[in-house]
Amino acid sequence: MSEQPFIAGMGIVSAIGNNLPANLQSLTNEKAGIAEMVWLESNHRGELPVGEVKCSNEELADSAGLSVRLPRAALLSCLAAREALQDAGWEKGAQLRTGFISANTVGGMDKTENFFRVFSKNSAGGKLVDVVNHECGAVTELTADYLGIRNFVSTVSTACSSSANAIFTGARMIQAGLLDFALVGGTDALTRFTLNGFNTLMILDRELCRPFDENRHGLNLGEGAAYMVLANEKGMKQLNKKPYARVSGFANANDAFHQTASSPEGTGPFLAMKAALNHAGIHPADIDYINLHGTGTQNNDIAEGTAIRLLFDPIYPKMSSTKAYTGHTLGASGAVEAVYSILAIQHGLIFPNLRFQTAMKELPFQPVTACLKNQVIQHVMSNSFGFGGNCSTLIFSAA
C-alpha cells in the first residue's frame, strides 16, 4: 500500500460514554453500557436490553446546538464528528481538501416511524418534517453542513459493515491523492424498525450478550457514532500533530452464501482478513490484537471463529469483542471498533470480552477476559461483517 493514511483525530459517542475519554475510561474499568431500555419508545422495553447512548434527544440536540426534530442518528453523528475534528485540530476554511464519508443503515428512520404512525392510516397525515431527513445521505449532509465540509460527501450502507467501508473509502481517496483529510466513520441510532427486525430474526439475547461464549444466545443492539480524521503527510504537517496510528490495510469480500446468515466455514470473513493482511504486507503472526466482529449470535461467532482458526492456527493473537460493552451499533460498529482498536495501540491496552465464561467447543482459542495493560501493540485487526454477505477487515498499525 502506497502512502498509508495517518489517523489524526477521533471522536465517539456510545453506550459507554459521550466522548473519547469517557469511552476509554469505561473500557479500562470494564464497565458495560448495555441495560434496560430508557429512551427508545418500544413495546419491547423491559424485555430486550440495549446499548443506548445515555441521553435524551433533547440533551443531544442541546449539546450540539441543533434542532430536536433532527434524526437521532444525525445528532449522534454531529457530536462524534465534531469531537474528531477538534481532537485533530482541524479548522474550517483550511486550504487543503477535506472529504466526509459517513455510513449508516437506517438514516432518519426514527422520525419516519413517527410519520408512518399517522401516514399509514391517512395518506394526507403525518408531518413532512419527519420524513425530510429519511435518507441515509440526509443524515450525512446534516453533519457535513454542521461542520462546514463541502469538498466531497458520501455515505456507505452495507448493513453492519457500513462504517468499515466508509473508513477505507476515505483511506483509498487519500492514497489516490483526491483528498488531504477524510473524516470517516458512521452513525446509527436505535429505532423500533431495527429492534423489531432483529427480533423477528430471533437473534436478540434477552440477557446481556456473551460474544464467543459456548452459551451465547444472540446479540444486543446498541447505538452510537464514531469518526476518525485521516490525513496524508501534507495534512499532518498542517495539523502539526503526532498521529495516533496508520490505516495500514483493508479489504472487502462477499460471503455470497445467504442474505442474512454467514457461511458456516466463514468464507467471507476468511477472504476479508486474508486480503487485508496482504494489503498491509504483513503476516498473521504480526497481528497483536483482533477486535472481533463478535456479535454473540450462534452463526456469526462460529463463522468468524472458524475463519480465524483457518488463517491464524496455531499462533493466535489476543482477541475480544467489545460489543459486550456497547451492543451492536450496526452502521456505526465498524467505526466504534476502529476507534477502540486505535485506543488499544495508543495506550497499550487490550480490552476484555466481558462476561466470557466458557470457550466454544469448536474453537481452540478464547478471548481475553480482563483488561491487559502495558502491551506492545504494533498491528490491530478489526472485523465487520454484515447482512448481504458484506465482510470487511481493517488493519491499523502504530505510526
Partner: protein, 341 residues
C-alpha cells in the same frame, strides 16, 4: 481518471433493454410518474428465486445480468451499487406491519430485504462472487460516488467493475414526494415527473471487444454558492480534460424536458451551454436521485451507435464528447464526461 464502458444493461421507462426498440419508439406518460418497462424476469433468474425478490431487486439483478451478458463475462472483480432510497417497498412494508401489529408477531422477510445493499448482495449471491462489494447511498451523488470508487479500484488493478444505479417508485414514495410538491399536479403545466430505473455498467481499464465508450472524468459539486461559481466549475472541469466547450458535442441536461421553469438549468443554458447542443435526459426516465445512471447509458448508446433515435429530431452527429450535467434542487450537481472510443 478514466475507464472503458465495456457494456451496459438498463431497465428504465424506455425500451432500454433493446436498442432497436429504443431507437424506434419513445415511451411517454400522461401521469406524473414514469415506471420502468420490466422484462420477463424468468429469462434472467430461476422463477423460485424471482418470487422472493422485491421489484427493485428484480430490476437491479436483471439489469446487472444483462450488462454482464453483453460483455460476455461471468463474474466481475467488484460489484458496486448506488441507491438513494434503497429498498423502499420492503422498508415501508415492514414499517407498516410493525405499526399495525404493534411490534408483535412480525415476519422477518421484509426486514431482511430492506437493507440498502440487498441488490448488490443478491447479484453476488447469484454469481457466487466473493469479491469486492460495496453500496453507496448518498442521495443524488450515490451513482457518481460509486463511479469514482470504481475508477479508483481499476487504478489499483481491480477490474472489471460492475457498477449500477437503482431506485424504485413505490406508492408511499410517490405520495410523500408529491406532498413535498415535487411533481406536476393534474391540470397544471408540465413539470417534473417521478422516475425510476436500474442502469448497470461494466467498467474496465482496457476496452476489450467493442467497448461502448470511454468514461473520461467526473466531479460532484455540493451546494455551489451561486450560478457563477457553478459555471466556473463546469468550465474548469471541461478544460482540465483538455477540451473547450465547443468540443462538447452534446450536453445531457437535468431539465425536466418541458415547460417547467428551472432557474438553475435555464441559467446554464444561457451561459456555459449557450452554444452547445443539449438534450433533457429526464424527459425519458423521470426524476429520481440516481437518474444520472440513465443519462450515462443514453450517452454510451448514442456514442456507440452514432445515430439518433427516429423520435429525437434534429440531433447533430457525429458525437465525440458528451457532458452530463445532473442536479437536484441545486444541492447536488454532478458532471460526467464521456467520449467515443
Amino acid at each position: 481518471m478514466k475507464a472503458y464502458i465495456r457494456s451496459t444493461g438498463n431497465i428504465s421507462p424506455q425500451h432500454s433493454l433493446n436498442t432497436d426498440s429504443f431507437f424506434l419508439t419513445r415511451v411517454k406518460t400522461s401521469k406524473n410518474f414514469f415506471k420502468s418497462l420490466e422484462p420477463d424476469y424468468d429469462d434472467f433468474v430461476d422463477s423460485k428465486m424471482i418470487r422472493r425478490m422485491s421489484r427493485i431487486v428484480k430490476m437491479g439483478v436483471a439489469a446487472a445480468l444483462t450488462c454482464l451478458r453483453n460483455a460476455g463475462i461471468e463474474k466481475p472483480a467488484a460489484i458496486l451499487t448506488a441507491t438513494a432510497y434503497g429498498c423502499l417497498e420492503d422498508s415501508a412494508g415492514f414499517l407498516r406491519k410493525m405499526i399495525e401489529f404493534d411490534e408483535q408477531t412480525l415476519s422477518p422477510t421484509a426486514f431482511i430485504q430492506s437493507t440498502h445493499n440487498t441488490v448488490g448482495a443478491q447479484i453476488a449471491l447469484l454469481l457466487k462472487c466473493h469479491d469486492y462489494n460495496n453500496c453507496i447511498v448518498h442521495r443524488a451523488f450515490s451513482f457518481e460516488n460509486a463511479l469514482t470508487e470504481s475508477i479508483l479500484l481499476l487504478q489499483e488493478g481491480i477490474g472489471p467493475v460492475l457498477v449500477g444505479a437503482i431506485d424504485e417508485i413505490t406508492d408511499d414514495r410517490h405520495t410523500i414526494l408529491s406532498r413535498f410538491g415535487l411533481y406536476k399536479k393534474k391540470g397544471t403545466l408540465p413539470a417534473n415527473i417521478a422516475g425510476e430505473g436500474a442502469a448497470f455498467f461494466l467498467l474496465d481499464k482496457e476496452g476489450g471487444n467493442h467497448p461502448q465508450a470511454i468514461l473520461r472524468d467526473l466531479q460532484t459539486i455540493y451546494k455551489p454558492e451561486d450560478s457563477e461559481t457553478l459555471q466556473r466549475y463546469i468550465q474548469e472541469f471541461v478544460k482540465k480534460n483538455g477540451l473547450n466547450m465547443s468540443q462538447i458535442d452534446l450536453v445531457l441536461t437535468a431539465h425536466p424536458g418541458n415547460a417547467k421553469k428551472d432557474e438553475v438549468n435555464d441559467q446554464l443554458l444561457k451561459t456555459v451551454f449557450h452554444e452547445n447542443q443539449c438534450f433533457p435526459f429526464r424527459s425519458l426516465c423521470g426524476d429520481y436521485p440516481t437518474a444520472s445512471g440513465f443519462a450515462l447509458w443514453l450517452a454510451a448508446v448514442l456514442l456507440k451507435e452514432q445515430k439518433a433515435p427516429i423520435w429525437m429530431e434534429g440531433m447533430k452527429f457525429p458525437l465525440k464528447n458528451i457532458l452530463i450535467h445532473n442536479h437536484t434542487a441545486d444541492i447536488h450537481h454532478s458532471l460526467i464526461l464521456i467520449s467515443a472510443c
